[in-house]
């Protein structure tokens, strides 16, 4: 009798790229729900647009590269790029912002370098950085958290769709009435106007830990991230190193001058710290390879984020920090090869 042959090993764990990507999307779900609770359905529209355009761009690129559509399109990596990009944009941002951003990300940052697995830069962050640099105005139109004690005007669902797809507000609303700066921006503005930290914190938008609404979103991201850690989809090295590299300088500067520099908890629960630490920096394709390399990579991102937030021109530097450390990854990998069994060095 004859039998089929294949190279050893003949048994592998039931795992696939699609399962990994799906679990990452599930880990993002609580934060998306929290975002909708506080800032309305705007994010849903952005997510939907981002994911669809990412898939479309992926399909086009695969066709151009004459690659089979089936396994690559449904592996979910394009959807994650679209979703992560959408989560960084203001809920009412016009539709062409997320469309151009995710198309650029998937086409330029991923397929031009050789498709899944060869992109040195995190595609979502390349897309976001391009938008941040090209359309700074649209990216500052954030909404205030919809809390009971804040009586700001609330755009309804109809208004949201109108604004996103028409690109401007309906007649009865004006941008000044409904937008408010994010905790990071408002903290930076009040500090630069010479107010001390305590006076800046008096603003009703700040709660116990940091910006109200934002702190819950960051905490749910932290929950999703820890769940990924438990499932061993993500290793602890990058998130821990990054969060430490944000918290430590923040605590030090806060100790040095409590009036001028916000503390560690504020920085950890503001902006994209948690999103960056657990979902963006840990993108395995563009991150460092060895564990030691991951620690250096994570610490680098955290440090540059803190520098940009404190002294830089942009309110939140996670995107730029990730891209800068992505550029340094091949150099880090070259000098952090772990010791092999039986070798001394």
């Amino acid at each position: 009798m004859t039998f089929g042959t294949s190279p050893a090993p003949h048994v592998i764990a039931p795992n696939s790229v699609r399962r990994v990507m799906r679990l990452v999307l599930f880990a993002l779900a609580p934060a998306i729900v929290m975002h909708i609770v506080f800032f309305g359905v705007g994010l849903l529209v952005q997510l939907f647009l981002g994911a669809i355009v990412a898939l479309l761009a992926e399909a086009i690129a695969l066709k151009l590269r004459r690659k089979p559509l089936q396994p690559f399109l449904t592996d979910g990596s394009a959807i994650i790029t679209g979703v992560l990009l959408a989560m960084c944009l203001p809920p009412l941002a016009p539709w062409w912002l997320v469309v151009s951003g995710s198309a650029f990300a998937v086409l330029f940052a991923k397929h031009l370098y050789g498709g899944l697995g060869s992109n040195p830069f995190n595609p979502a962050m390349v897309g976001y950085a391009v938008l941040l640099v090209s359309f700074p105005a649209q990216l500052t139109q954030w909404l205030p958290p919809q809390l009971a004690d804040l009586q700001l005007l609330r755009p309804g669902v109809g208004d949201t769709f109108y604004t996103v797809f028409m690109g401007h507000l309906p007649a009865h609303l004006t941008w000044d009435a409904i937008t408010s700066p994010t905790p990071l921006t408002s903290m930076r503005n009040s500090l630069s106007m010479g107010m001390t930290m305590q006076e800046a914190q008096a603003n009703p938008m700040f709660g116990a830990m940091g910006g109200r609404g934002w702190d819950w979103i960051n905490l749910s991201l932290l929950g999703g991230g820890v769940w990924l850690l438990v499932l061993r989809i993500v290793r602890w090295h990058i998130p821990l190193a990054m969060l430490a590299a944000i918290a430590v300088p923040a605590a030090v500067m806060n100790a040095v001058d409590p009036g001028a520099y916000p503390g560690a908890t504020f920085h950890l629960t503001a902006g994209a710290s948690m999103l960056g630490a657990f979902f963006i920096a840990t993108d395995p394709i563009s991150a460092a390879t060895s564990n030691r390399g991951k620690l250096i990579y994570g610490a680098g991102i955290g440090l540059i984020t803190y520098v940009i937030r404190t002294w830089g021109g942009y309110p939140d530097g996670v995107a730029f920090a990730v891209l800068m450390m992505n550029a340094a990854v091949p150099l880090i990998d070259r000098y952090t090869v772990p010791r092999v069994y039986g070798h001394t060095r």
């Binding site: 397929h111 031009l112 060869s118 540059i304 002294w311 942009y314 992505n326 550029a327 150099l331």
Partner: protein
């Protein structure tokens, strides 16, 4: 004190010049050529740290009193060509670092022109210490970016980059994204 730190940090992280020089576009693709990238990076870092204060001194002591500021650009270009010479002297023994590629001398002269412009830019610093730190910062920034870019190139060789984008186009796009990343640091150095 913090202004000095800012100048150093700023010039390390904000060295646009590193990304715009023609020399860096040349792909350091293969592994043995990475050593020559290391050579150029170290030489630039060392060279700039020494030449920046030298240029500042010449400017403050010789040119300004004699009202010959117009000589500054030519003088600094000559300074950087001198730097190109010191690159070879520096590597008399560490020959594997010495970049022996054809046309490298041409690279160094163009790099000389670039560094000349940069040195002139540094003349604006007020004290000698600031000039040294600015020179050192730009040098280290240039060296770090050159090494990062060279090892990025080496890693690209295995990626299935579409045929039309092999070697130079993908190198330019990589530089574009690196420049994009560095744009995040605008506003750090308040001139």
């Amino acid at each position: 004190m913090s202004s000095l730190l800012i100048i150093l940090l700023g010039s390390v992280l904000v060295s646009y010049f590193a990304l715009t020089t023609r020399g860096i576009v040349q792909p350091f693709a293969s592994d043995d050529v990475f050593d020559s990238a290391v050579g150029v990076a170290i030489a630039t870092a060392v060279g700039l740290t020494l030449l920046s204060p030298l240029a500042w001194l010449i400017d403050r002591l010789a040119l300004r009193p004699l009202h010959m500021d117009f000589l500054a650009p030519t003088l600094f270009v000559m300074l950087t060509v001198l730097f190109a010479l010191c690159l070879e002297a520096l590597f008399r023994h560490q020959t594997h670092w010495l970049p022996l590629r054809m046309g490298f001398t041409m690279l160094l002269t163009t790099q000389g022109a670039l560094l000349g412009v940069m040195l002139q830019g540094r003349v604006r610093s007020d004290t000698l210490l600031q000039a040294v730190l600015a020179g050192a910062g730009t040098g280290i920034g240039f060296a770090a970016l050159l090494l990062a870019f060279a090892s990025m190139q080496q890693r690209q060789r295995a990626a299935e980059v579409p045929a039309a984008f092999q070697l130079a186009p993908i190198a330019l796009i990589t530089i574009g994204i690196m420049a994009l990343a560095l744009m995040g640091l605008t506003g750090l150095v308040r001139e």
